[in-house]
């Protein structure tokens, strides 16, 4: 352990320029420490994945095994898919709730895309007075907490909307009661409205950065706004539309607050998040099927996420970095 070589092979990091001056053992320890960051990174990765891993393992163990030992002591013999059978069964009703989740997430993904694409194009390429102010006002709503709109929205879905004319005591119905209380329709309508500021912001960032010459050339050729939007902007914007679609799908599929407010106790229309939360609510009794349920709920977003991560990241970046 006396002073030996000061340069160590295999570290991949060149030693400090003045390495010869101090004793070897400290340098050697220092070189060892230089490799710690990689170790720390992978330690974080392990810590980050342990909770999910535990859930995944436990979802394949029966009730008694889950209660007896921790998931890290799993034995191959006790693996079973009974939990999945139970949770898809009629009493737990996971299958139906998955359909409800899809019934919310699909329209809540498709419809905002179209509407927001129009608006993003309008804000980016149609000149009109007050455009900038209106755009900033729209996008400022990004930060508005949904809670602020929930109570009146629920009232609207339950009983429509009406105003009483001043002076006359006469009520005018603005929005009739479409009998939407407690339906998946009310949930996706709400999602559509709430998604709008973010969607416009994201798509506008992209559409406004398309080269200006393109539009001028099309204009000279006599194309109108509708043609330019339909033939030029829409095909060029497919990447960002995909990014938003993934974003919105994950958000609506995973949403709990809006679903719980709009659908709440109506069991036949509940999406999976409410089902899982309810299972977690009644302590003890159903705890053993909870891992399976949570895993099924997370499965679809995880597949979407890993398959289309590139677009998701792109959406995330376009939505926040470019600001």
């Amino acid at each position: 352990m006396s002073a030996t070589t000061t340069t160590l092979s295999g570290t991949g990091q060149p030693g400090p320029s003045s390495a010869g001056q101090s004793s070897g053992i400290i340098d050697r320890a220092y070189q060892f420490l230089r490799r710690i960051p990689t170790g720390v990174l992978w330690l974080i990765v392990v810590v980050w994945s342990i909770p999910t891993l535990g859930l995944f393992v436990n979802s394949f163990r029966d009730r008694d095994a889950q209660r007896a030992t921790g998931w890290w002591k799993v034995k191959p013999s006790e693996l079973t898919i009974d939990n999945y059978d139970t949770i898809f069964g009629a009493r737990a009703g996971l299958g139906r709730s998955l359909l409800n989740s899809a019934a919310i997430a699909i329209p809540a993904t498709i419809i905002p895309i179209a509407i927001a694409a129009f608006a993003a194009y309008g804000f980016a390429w149609i000149p009109f007075r007050g455009r900038k102010t209106l755009f900033i006002a729209t996008v400022a709503l990004l930060a508005i907490p949904l809670q602020v709109a929930l109570i009146p929205l629920l009232q609207m879905f339950v009983g429509g909307a009406s105003v009483t004319l001043p002076l006359l005591e006469k009520t005018v119905v603005l929005i009739p009661d479409f009998d939407l209380a407690g339906t998946t329709t009310s949930a996706w309508l709400t999602h559509t409205g709430f998604a709008m500021p973010f969607a416009i912001f994201l798509l506008h960032n992209y559409i406004s950065s398309l080269p200006k010459d393109l539009f001028e050339a099309a204009r000279i050729d006599g194309a109108d706004h509708f043609t330019i939007f339909w033939r030029l902007v829409l095909p060029l914007s497919i990447p960002v539309l995909a990014a938003f679609a993934i974003f919105q799908f994950l958000w609506t599929w995973n949403d709990y607050l809006i679903a719980n407010t709009m659908i709440g106790a109506n069991a036949s229309q509940q999406p999976t998040t409410i089902l899982i939360a309810n299972l977690a609510g009644d302590f003890g009794r159903n705890e053993y099927i909870l891992p399976a349920g949570a895993f099924v709920q997370a499965f679809i977003p995880l597949v979407v996420f890993f398959a289309l991560q590139r677009y998701f990241v792109r959406g995330l970046l376009a939505g926040s970095v470019k600001g």
Partner: protein, 691 residues
Amino acid sequence: METLERTGADEGAPGQPAASAGKGATPQTARPTKLYVKIAGGFVLALAMIYWAFVEEKIRSTLLTVIIAVAASGGIWIGANLLFNQVRSRWQMFNTIAFAVVGAVLGIVLHGNLVTIGSGSGFLTWVVGPLAGAASFGALGYVLARTDDPQQRRAIALGSSIVIGLVIGAVIRDTYQPGLDPVAIVVYTLVGIVIGAGLSLLLKHPPLGGALIGAALGWVLGAWGAADLGAGSIATSIIAALVPAVLIGLRLGMTKNPDYKARVAIDNRSRAVIFIGPALAFISVMLVIPAIRTAYLSLLNKDSTEFVGADNYKAVFDDKNSLDLANWTNMFTSVPFILGVILLVVALIVGISMKKRTGRAVEIGNPTVAPLVVGLLFVSFGAFTAMRGTLINNLWWVVVVTFVSTAMGLAIAVLADQRGGERVAKSVIFMPMAISLVGASVIWRFVYTARDTSTEQTGVLNALWIGLGRLSTGSGLPTIIATIFLVLVLVGLFMVMARMLVRYGPGRAVVPGIMIVLVGWLFIRFTGIVGGGVGGFQTLPDGTTVGQTVFFVQETPYNNFWLMIVMIWIQTGFSMVILSAAIKAVPTELIEAAKIDGATTSQVFWRVTLPQIATTIGVVVTTLIVGVMKVFDIVKVMTNGQFGSQVLANQMFQEAFSFQNKGKGAALAILIFLAVLPVMIYNIRRMQRES
């Protein structure tokens, strides 16, 4: 399609900034097979989806609703576009069709609501009314567009509007003939005139036109909306219909056919409405108007029948559960607070010495920053555990989750940058973003599980904690190994500190010094020099030690922190991805230049990289603050606000929808809104600066 492929191909790792169209193309010839496989896979997937959709009634009906809704509104939208395509070059055609559409809509409204004579059940009535409207209005539009003589136009507009008003008044069913209320008519007409003229002036038009339209609308509202329908005669209904028709006719006669320049302006303005209108309609109905109404509801009592002023807000702040500062002195005795104060003292000493050496006490990247920031965090932690209540909890959430998520995300982004396995590591840490907050809460519930100590622990954290206790209080080989390990770590840290002291002076030795204090404290506790050891154990009166679990979710106030961990677990991935992209976007020339000037890796990071990504950090922090302020799912699922872990969003939900106290729920929602208002204003400022 080509853009999709191109941008798809040139993005290897996650975390590269979004590519805009028009980038140089990369060769695509390399993998056509892969493309075909992808297309085929997508096709199969689509077929499976369609099959599934057909089998499942729920999906089928939803898809049908969506398709019908999209087709109908899309048809209207495209129709509007095609109509306004005529504005520039074919004004006469445009005018005819536009008038006909207005007429048809009027016909549908009147005939469809069974207001007019001849309407009733049956298919034909749906055709007759709209057709009549379209034909008469279309003819008017055609004639108007043909002539440019102002006098002729005035005569045509006035004459035909009189005819139309007379006809509409005459065909109203007697059950709908209004009994006129002169006061209402006068009031509403006057209000209409004022609003119309005001709007015109605001848009810098002559006020007469707006006043006429406003008067017409006011008259309609006063004569029809206010009236007792069915109490009138044919005369009253003619009066009620004729006057607004004449007013609109006068307005129409005032204008002349627009020249090309004016038509271009009309084209642009109408396109703006067509393109932006639908989105604004959704935002208004779903977001803006409800938000305004919530502000109004928050001033009313629980079932919105009585005006109570600020009572709801007062109730929130007076409630001991919202804000309890009675025990604030406890924070001086809490461990985090004392640790934080020690760190702040260290920061002060270092700061003074840095001031002497470099002239600046605090500077990004100098040794004062680390103890200062961590010390402040610890002090706030101590303060938040001593003061209790919903508002304090929210503040605590915001401070801890925002800070830790950003710092962790930045640390991971730096650690992973250009290292082997970067993609895998980042994917794993990013993954929780895809899991719902409910799912994450369930996942962490199993991590936090505490079971009776007589049985085995099934939660990871309690198992580790009790294991540590056993290790610390035991006397077998594992205990000895662990002790030796701790000693080695301590020695290693001492060596690092010594090297830092020799090489770079006391400034760089601060961080290892703090780590020595922490690890040394752990060592002293672990070996039982002070206290009986660390970990989950309990010494019984007879001298034996048994395990003791931590009830992570139930023990106030630290359960708040354990709930925050769930949020941190999710949000770290978000800040990591964004900060990683920002780091990669820092120009390499800058970093190369700094290195050539002899900067070390850490100097490059603190002095070059960090200032470059400062704005991005700002974006991440603001996004996190907004997200954390409205945290709901985690608290709802894990504790439902029990055990002193209530937050505003969950309390709002409970008050508004469980206890049916609309007033207080609305007040809480407004409080959340007010809390994020500074962030909104900051964002608006930023956008104004950028554009």
